[in-house]
């Protein structure tokens, strides 16, 4: 069943899908990747408002390396990942060591994502500031360049991003299966109690944070290479950081496919409203989206998938009882 669905998804573009639906599907998987990365730590009680920082690092380090130093993304990506890990460590270690949690953690990480955005804007001579920047094209007379990680075919991107999405889900599962996850759950419930039975709270939290940062950074790299355009507001700062949090909440952060459902839901909502009402009502999609978020958090805090699987579970229990 699971594999059949996956095979269907993988075969979808070969069944004569138009360019635009394929583009939507790719974007959906890409955001699913990023949202999944966020949830890896978010569901364990570490609600970060700063993941825009990691996405921004991924997108900009690779593009800047390519544009200014002719550095292939194959080299730029490890540099970006190293930088993201270092930043995650620098912000995470003191936070966890000094027990900065809840509101405070969210607001400290918010500062981090704003710092990233502002640095990108401030270095406008190199980064193009808030106008954004396009990676220099390597596709002038070829249809793909492996060295520049640029492909004109959407099909290639579909499979690349599909692979990363599956990888993200696999990491989530591995985290679930590891001993660390039980410990982390204990930490998110009762940090002091967890520490008292010998769980190294700081180390575990830091590990998950760095993992999540690396995955988000990779999402940023893929985003930049696929879209071939980056802008400080679309890859870093408070806007995108909140978008990640809310995408995850809409889908449900405690189930593995929740973030993916969130990504699909957000994207379909935006596109659907645009097709429905046309383009003249600028901001309508986000108005509806914002309203739904508020309603979600009040009435359905587990998200779409979380609520659905919860209802299913309840029904099963009732049937088993009867």
């Amino acid at each position: 069943m699971k594999y059949a669905a996956l095979a269907l998804l993988a075969a979808a573009p070969l069944l004569g899908m138009g360019n635009y639906p394929l583009h939507l599907l790719i974007l959906c998987l890409l955001w699913a990747c990023v949202y999944t990365s966020w949830s890896v730590m978010g569901r364990l009680g570490m609600v970060s408002f700063g993941h825009g920082a990691f996405m921004g690092i991924g997108a900009y380090v690779v593009v800047m390396g390519w544009n200014h130093y002719g550095l292939s993304p194959w080299i730029g990506t490890p540099i970006a990942l190293a930088l993201a890990a270092a930043v995650a460590f620098l912000i995470g270690y003191p936070c966890f060591r000094f027990k900065i949690v809840g509101h405070y953690f969210a607001l400290v990480t918010l500062a981090l994502s704003e710092v990233t955005r502002l640095i990108i804007v401030a270095l406008r001579d190199q980064t193009g500031g808030s106008l954004g920047v396009t990676p220099k094209t390597a596709l002038a007379d070829v249809s793909y360049s492996l060295n520049a990680l640029q492909f004109s075919s959407k099909l290639v991107w579909f499979y690349v991003i599909l692979a990363f999405w599956l990888g993200g889900l696999w990491i989530w599962k591995k985290v679930d299966e590891s001993m660390g996850r039980l410990a982390l759950e204990a930490i998110s419930q009762e940090e002091d109690a967890a520490a008292s039975i010998g769980i190294n709270v700081t180390k575990l939290k830091l590990g998950v944070t760095i993992l999540s940062a690396l995955m988000t950074c990779m999402g940023g790299v893929l985003y930049a290479q696929y879209q071939l355009y980056v802008n400080p507001d679309t890859v870093s700062g408070i806007g995108i950081s909140l978008q990640m949090v809310f995408g995850v909440i809409a889908g449900g952060m405690f189930v593995r496919l929740g973030p993916t459902v969130g990504a699909a839901f957000t994207l379909l909502l935006a596109e659907g409203l645009r097709l429905w009402f046309g383009n003249q009502y600028h901001g309508l999609d986000l108005t509806v989206y914002g309203l739904m978020l508020v309603l979600f958090i009040i009435y359905m805090p587990k998200g779409i998938l979380g609520a659905a699987s919860g209802a299913l579970e309840k029904r099963r229990m009732v049937r088993a009882g009867a």
Binding site: P94, L107, L110, E114, A122, I238, L284, L286
Partner: protein, 288 residues
């Protein structure tokens, strides 16, 4: 005097004036947090609504400016009460992080609704206040007024909290949320009044900001984050701490912007904030 120092002094003074308005922004947020224990992530968006209210009442419906200001303050105060009643109250018993997130949803909603209703064009009142010259220094009249009003609003607020019955109840409930209902104080009513007051302060800030900045739907993002950081730096809910933190932040922005570029001023302020968080997570005035 060396000319360099004159400009530096000008930057310091401008920072001082900026500090006044930042302190006012932080005051409303701190008041709400101190009493209800909820951070209004959408606080700056409430200010944006106030700014649009002034613009429409004054420039489109041609109300006199003072009436437009008074109405805008009333509108945002009502908005604050509505925000509490419709959005915060249902999640008061939920996890604290949900309360943070729900107001984040309101942020998206208000920003997008403003885009939908008002469009993305930049608007301004068309009032340009003169620059004041002191020797070789120029200071903005609008900023000077903002500083004075912000200071007056803060003094009025502290007198209200210290002297009036309602103010005393607000202070009491912020110290012990569990005990006060037993003493015959109705927390719901206090929460509602506090939210309206927080909204009114946002309205005052809107009137002052509208004199200096163009209005557009995303303007909240340009001073929202900094307001939260000031409150956290001063210790969430600690009004005195927020007051001091506002002036520290303003100096970073103004003087940092003077030596480097204005964004670097913000970068420095934010990095300073992160550093202080690690050193004193409870804020600069927070105890152990």
């Amino acid at each position: 005097m060396d000319i360099f120092d004159v400009f530096l002094l000008e930057a310091v003074l401008n920072g001082l004036l900026l500090g006044g308005i930042l302190a006012l922004l932080a005051l409303g947020l701190n008041l709400v947090f101190g009493v209800i224990d909820v951070v209004w992530i959408c606080y700056a968006e409430m200010i944006m609504i106030g700014m649009y209210a002034v613009y429409y009442l004054h420039n489109v419906y041609h109300w006199p400016l003072w009436l437009a200001f008074a109405s805008a303050i009333a509108i945002v105060a009502l908005g604050g009460a509505a925000l509490h009643h419709l959005v915060i109250r249902p999640v008061l018993a939920a996890e604290p992080i949900n309360q943070l997130l729900v107001t984040g949803g309101v942020l998206f909603f208000l920003q997008a609704a403003a885009t939908l209703v008002f469009g993305v064009e930049f608007r301004n009142l068309g009032i340009r206040l003169p620059q004041l010259q002191f020797g070789e220094m120029y200071l903005s009249m609008a900023r000077l007024i903002a500083f004075g009003v912000a200071l007056a609003a803060m003094i009025a607020m502290s007198v209200f909290l210290k002297r009036s019955y309602l103010g005393t109840a607000i202070r009491a409930i912020s110290q012990d949320r569990q005990i006060m209902p037993l003493m015959g104080v109705n927390p719901n009513r206090i929460f509602l009044v506090t939210s309206a007051l927080g909204g009114a302060l946002a309205g005052v800030a809107a009137c002052l900001l509208v004199l200096q900045y163009d209005i557009h739907p995303a303007i909240g993002l340009s001073f929202g984050p900094i307001t939260f950081l000031i409150c956290v730096l001063g210790g969430l809910g600690n009004m005195m701490g927020g007051f001091i933190a506002a002036f520290i932040f303003a100096q970073f922005i103004s003087v940092g912007g003077f030596f480097l570029h204005v964004e670097w001023g913000y970068v420095l302020a934010f990095l300073f904030f992160i550093a202080v968080m690690f050193w004193k997570p409870q804020g600069i005035l927070g105890g152990k």
